[in-house]
């Protein structure tokens, strides 16, 4: 009875679309707006990450997509269909919960089979899929264990297999790695990427770890206080942060005050701490006074006094193993941090308390929206 599916592969419908989704908890004086008109479009087979500080609404957005909460306003669409009012058990969306939420009275295999059985799949197919999932997450040898008797990392893999087994259109992962130690975490990051590639399922991944977001995602949405501030690929978010919050949340950033001297098309000449520098101005950013973002690793240190370099006094150096941080105070009092790899500075010639020059790489300065 359905119309044939469109075969246009160049612009497939987004896997998940949020249209001006607002979520308000409570009423009257206690009302709290957890999401503020969030609009997102997440593509088919994308590894999409929601990144933001604690309490910014990441979990709330996932719960709305899974169906545990209803939006106060706006819609959630799955492949173009409005699913805002479907209960969770009717949505082809599965969740890997932060606490794993494995069923303690069932074995590993029974946990993985649960979704398939509820969908009424034939026994043979259930057994088959469970076997495949066990192999996928390398848990065959523990399939008859109770889930309360396996380690944290193993529980996490079972939770993943359980959510993947029914082949959902979209998999939601709420900080699934936060309980693991660093080594296991790195392993699981690689495993997650591999699983996503092998299954072709759209992943929506929540984290407040910016490094994790940068290494794993196809695209990232940076959130703060219920709003989406910027959506883009890891490079784009890192190299061209839209505003001060994104710049400071992702990686370390220096913020420098600048004055516009002259503009020519999309570029401008700026005075930054007494030095004239050329930089691109994104749309909507206007002078005369600007804030520029500058990554600490995009600075080269040199002897004081040369033209085109920021001038200041070296206040402190902090050794970090792979690199060293140089804390500098510029002539106008602005603090500046430069990060230099240690291989090249084995015996650097800079003395604390003496003048120093710091030269930004070409186009390293990013003008920010306020």
């Amino acid at each position: 009875m359905q119309a044939p599916a469109p075969t246009d592969t160049t612009s497939p419908l987004p896997a998940i679309e949020a249209r001006r989704v607002t979520k308000i908890f409570g009423e009257g004086d206690d009302a709290f707006q957890a999401l503020d008109a969030v609009s997102l479009s997440i593509r088919e087979n994308e590894f999409f990450t929601l990144l933001g500080p604690s309490g910014c609404g990441k979990t709330t957005l996932l719960r709305l997509i899974a169906g545990f909460e209803q939006p106060s306003a706006g819609h959630i669409l799955l492949e173009g269909k409005n699913i805002s009012n479907l209960p969770p058990y009717k949505r082809p969306v599965n969740t890997v919960f932060q606490s794993y939420a494995l069923f303690p009275h069932l074995t590993v295999a029974q946990n993985i089979a649960f979704g398939l059985q509820r969908l009424g799949k034939p026994k043979a197919e259930v057994a088959d899929t469970v076997e495949r999932m066990l192999r996928l997450v390398k848990m065959e040898h523990l399939k008859d264990r109770r889930t309360s008797n396996i380690s944290g990392g193993q529980q996490q893999r079972v939770a993943l297999a359980r959510a993947l087994a029914p082949r959902p259109r979209v998999l939601l992962l709420d900080e699934p790695l936060s309980a693991l130690d660093l080594k296991l975490r790195k392993e699981m990051q690689i495993e997650l990427k591999r699983l996503q590639g092998e299954t072709g399922i759209t992943f929506i991944f929540v984290t407040h770890d910016q490094e994790e977001a940068l290494t794993m995602s196809d695209r990232i949405a940076v959130m703060s206080e219920g709003k989406v501030l910027q959506v883009g690929g890891p490079r784009e978010i890192y190299d061209r942060p839209a505003d001060r919050f994104v710049a400071s949340f992702i990686g370390d950033t220096n913020f420098l005050p600048a004055q516009v001297i002259s503009t020519a098309g999309p570029r401008a000449r700026l005075a930054v701490c007494g030095v004239e520098i050329s930089a691109a101005l994104p749309e909507g950013v206007e002078g005369p006074a600007l804030t520029m973002a500058l990554r600490p690793e995009q600075l080269r240190l040199e002897a004081a006094g040369a033209a085109g370099a920021l001038q200041g006094v070296l206040k402190d150096t902090v050794y970090f193993g792979t690199d060293t941080h140089f804390h500098i105070t510029l002539t106008d009092g602005t603090p500046l941090i430069a990060r230099v790899q240690n291989a090249r500075t084995a015996e650097h010639a800079f003395r604390v308390g003496e003048p120093i020059g710091a030269r930004p790489q070409a186009d390293a300065l990013q003008a920010l929206h306020d």
Binding site: K90, N94, T95, F97, A101, F103, H105, F114, R118
Partner: protein, 267 residues
């Protein structure tokens, strides 16, 4: 700073006080049990070891009837109370906070707070009115009364069990295509089962040894074991009562031990 925390165990005289308390608590019970094996017919004079009084109690038709009645009432009341308590526990833990929640807790636990004698008198008068109106004088009154005061005893362990259960398990089930009924059947019910069994056993034991309400509510010829024993004591004291008490004690200890182990398993 002290190098160790305060411990009651180390207080001077603690051991002596503890031993005295245990002796006072258990001496009467030990005496009762010992004299149930007395060969003579006195409850104060030891005349040798025998199972005589167990045989007497076993052959006593009145004891047999009272025992069966006790078990029927306790089993029925425990079953009814457990079903009600399960529903109440689900209603008070698996819904969002709603106005009047505290009032409902209080109402469910009312039998724990109202003096038993008040409930007994109230039930006596209330059931008398129904008896006059309907003419029915069967065991249902006793069962209903017992079920009512057993509800909180069944409710508390079930609610504790549900409260200790992660809500995200039920959410995970719904996420994995389980309808609300399937979620209850496959997740909630199996996980709360130990609480239900514990609640049922507690209700059973509480019903089994009730005297006050039973004494007021029972019709003629509806003695349960405890009220039968009370009646016996009013006439002549014989070690038969000791034997019955010891048997009841054994049954209760058995059930409570099972209850304890079930509870321990969940932690």
């Amino acid at each position: 700073m002290a190098d160790r925390t305060f411990e009651v165990r180390r207080l001077p005289g603690m051991a002596a006080i503890a031993i005295t308390c245990f002796v006072i608590l258990y001496a009467p019970i030990v005496t009762l049990v010992v004299y149930s094996f007395n060969a003579g017919s006195s409850v104060a004079l030891w005349e040798g070891l025998s199972l005589r009084w167990y045989a007497v109690a076993w052959d006593n038709v009145a004891v047999q009837e009272a025992a069966i009645r006790s078990l029927v009432v306790a089993a029925s009341a425990a079953a009814i109370a457990t079903v009600l308590a399960t529903l109440a526990a689900l209603g008070t833990t698996r819904t969002g906070p709603f106005p009047g929640r505290m009032t409902i807790y209080t109402l469910i636990n009312q039998p724990l707070m109202v003096p038993e004698i008040v409930t007994a008198v109230a039930l006596l008068i209330f059931f008398a009115m129904i008896k006059v109106a309907t003419g029915y004088t069967g065991l249902a009154y006793l069962i209903a009364a017992h079920a009512a005061f057993c509800v909180p005893f069944a409710y508390l362990p079930i609610r504790a069990r549900l409260e200790g259960m992660d809500l995200s398990l039920e959410r995970a089930a719904a996420d994995l295509y389980a309808t609300p009924f399937a979620t209850f059947r496959h997740i909630t019910l199996p996980l709360m089962a130990p609480g239900i069994v514990a609640g049922a056993m507690l209700a059973f034991v509480i019903s089994l040894d009730d005297v006050v309400i039973t004494e007021f509510v029972k019709s003629a010829g509806q003695d349960t074991l405890p009220t039968y024993m009370l009646g016996q004591l009013r006439r002549a004291i014989s070690p038969e009562v000791n034997a019955i008490s010891t048997a009841l004690l054994a049954l209760t200890v058995l059930l409570l031990t099972a209850f304890f182990f079930l509870n321990r398993k969940r932690n």
